[in-house]
Symmetry: C3
Subunit: 266 residues, 3 copies
């Protein structure tokens, strides 16, 4: 097998956008191995895209080429990037969506993709997934050196989906993902939460208060939203046999207020 | 080609859950052939999952490894299974979702998957699709003997999506699937329905009465819901150029009352 | 790699219909390369299917076998077709959905698929995707001559998604697609629009007037719907950071009134 190309986009699955990217890739590398991570990033939501990439990429084989297209600035002057790390290639727009994941890796090269030889002949202003990112990934999967595709740079745009805010009442966490089951994923690492060794906590999402933690779904009482260590290493607000998102009438991008008393701090 | 791994889950396609399972599989077997049956099982609905597996698996090549993740009890004590039949491997939780399909096959081995050597190193309580079922399927596709992966057992949990109830007014059928076109699939086999040689029948779904059968969609009159032999061998309530589910304001899991007069019985 | 089989259907992704087609294909050709263009064609909408095929197929490798299943007449007397062109194979029902795309190609053979040797043994009246189109495509990918699969014909049913109407007030364009971002795609080619060299234009969609054009999304002012040259070569009504479809409360299949004053014509 050649190195897999893993796609993460906000294109959804009702359109042909993701399919056309695959057509472009197979036209360049007929033996390409293409894996869909998801096309369900919330439209144009860079934090959600960052979260999904961050919690997915380590499960892919070394050498995987990640093609990440969440790109509200397509057609403007934002650069297109390929970041080669010790284990992977990350390809996508320079809008921060790659930043958090790349922090976990040892970066070897950052290339601004500005060599039109590797783009499709008729370049659009609205679909660089098809015209730039897909062909670049296909050429990478054929073994083309990334240095040939553009200009080295030192810096990329930063965007930290782990960033929180504080106010007088506590820590304002961000809901960075709402999953298919209605679980609300917070930008609070399970590891960090457990380290606090809390006597007491509460999470308030849109006036709904959550102050109980369980360790798996069936342990939760019916009808009561709970906090649970999610499978991706982040704490989630969950409702057994129901949707926490519906119960809290909340979704990705909104805040969750986190208050607590810690054994260690008191 | 290696044996295909066919995925059937309730993960939906907006998240990265299915994508991450593919990453795990390809990390273990880079030449794996992965086919999505569907990730659209109704969340945590074992009857719907049973129906979709039952009506799909026979269309896959011999040797296919079915990875079925509909798993409300994940993290609790429910066992994880691999059932080897003459033609296939069925991998999934021991909650009944595999039962109906396995009845159609000649069972050779039932193994409780309890050998952590074949799991991912950091096992979560909430995502055995990624941490247990995906790696087990990948190892099976590499030719690992299923006996090495766990402990033989004799029995699995039963769940019969074909079960119906009767009351004074008729037979209570179950709506086991609502498809993309709004067709309501009943747990009534076409073969069984036709054998009844009925003079008269009626199906009542949420107060809407259906008493006419057609054999293909264009044969149906406009605006009138009909019964039609569906492509999967089950009778469906259908509405031409419309959604029977919307018309009946009904969906998967609900009952449909079936009354009839039979030539044979009268 | 064998020739890819590219699937375009209105089956959605919640059901197992597309998955079962893949099972059938892999049962016949274990080395088949299957690519999903999309399963999100609007149910039974031939114009939308035509548009999605027309704007996708040229991005696929030569030799690709397009399997197009938008088939409201399944089970009736409508014929099943395979059209071999210089570059591709187009397989689908004879209801016009293939017509616009085939006009761009040099046709070599049109075959009505009437040789049941290439169908599944138990043919349904409701799912020719599984029983006829999938096995035919699998056999084509194995190199079977299309002539062996049926009877040559000269004509196919026409359906022109580019057709417009005029009335006293202007040209009635059709919304042929609504994408995941809420962009409303009109059946007006960008090339044709630009050739008009307009002094002034307005597009009216459900009483919402659009009279400004931009060339990429970030160029658009907030809250104001604009016309933009879409990535597929057609003009789109778009709303920056929002959904034009929601703003206009409009969707695929509806009309958009196009009025203009042209430099050339005046």
């Amino acid at each position: 097998m050649t190195q897999p190309i893993a796609l993460l986009t906000d294109f959804g699955v009702q359109d042909a956008y993701a399919g056309v990217m695959k057509g472009v890739i197979c036209s360049i590398n007929p033996d390409a191995c293409i894996i869909d991570i998801s096309h369900g990033v919330r439209p144009q939501d860079l934090l959600n895209g960052s979260y999904l990439l961050y919690t997915s990429f380590t499960f892919f084989p070394k050498g995987t080429i990640f093609c990440v297209v969440v790109d509200p600035g397509v057609g403007s002057k934002r650069a297109a990037l390929c970041i080669k790390t010790r284990n992977y290639f990350f390809v996508g727009p320079d809008n921060g969506v790659l930043w958090s994941s790349v922090q976990l890796e040892s970066v070897e090269k950052i290339i601004v993709l500005d060599n039109p030889k590797f783009f499709t002949p008729q370049m659009s202003n609205t679909f660089h997934g098809r015209d730039l990112f897909a062909p670049v990934c296909a050429h990478l999967s054929l073994g083309t050196e990334v240095s040939a595709m553009g200009t080295p740079v030192e810096q990329i745009r930063q965007l930290d989906f782990l960033a929180v805010e504080t106010d007088g009442q506590g820590i304002k966490l961000r809901i960075v993902h709402t999953d298919h089951f209605g679980n609300l994923v917070l930008n609070l690492k399970t590891r960090d939460f457990l380290r606090l060794s809390l006597d007491y906590f509460s999470i308030t999402v849109n006036k709904v208060r959550i102050d109980r933690m369980v360790s798996f779904y069936e342990e939760a009482p019916s009808g009561v939203p709970v906090l649970i260590p999610g499978s991706s290493g982040f704490m989630e607000v969950s409702l057994r046999s129901g949707s926490a998102a519906s119960l809290c009438r909340s979704t990705t991008g909104e805040w969750a207020l986190f208050s607590f008393k810690s054994k260690r701090l008191s």
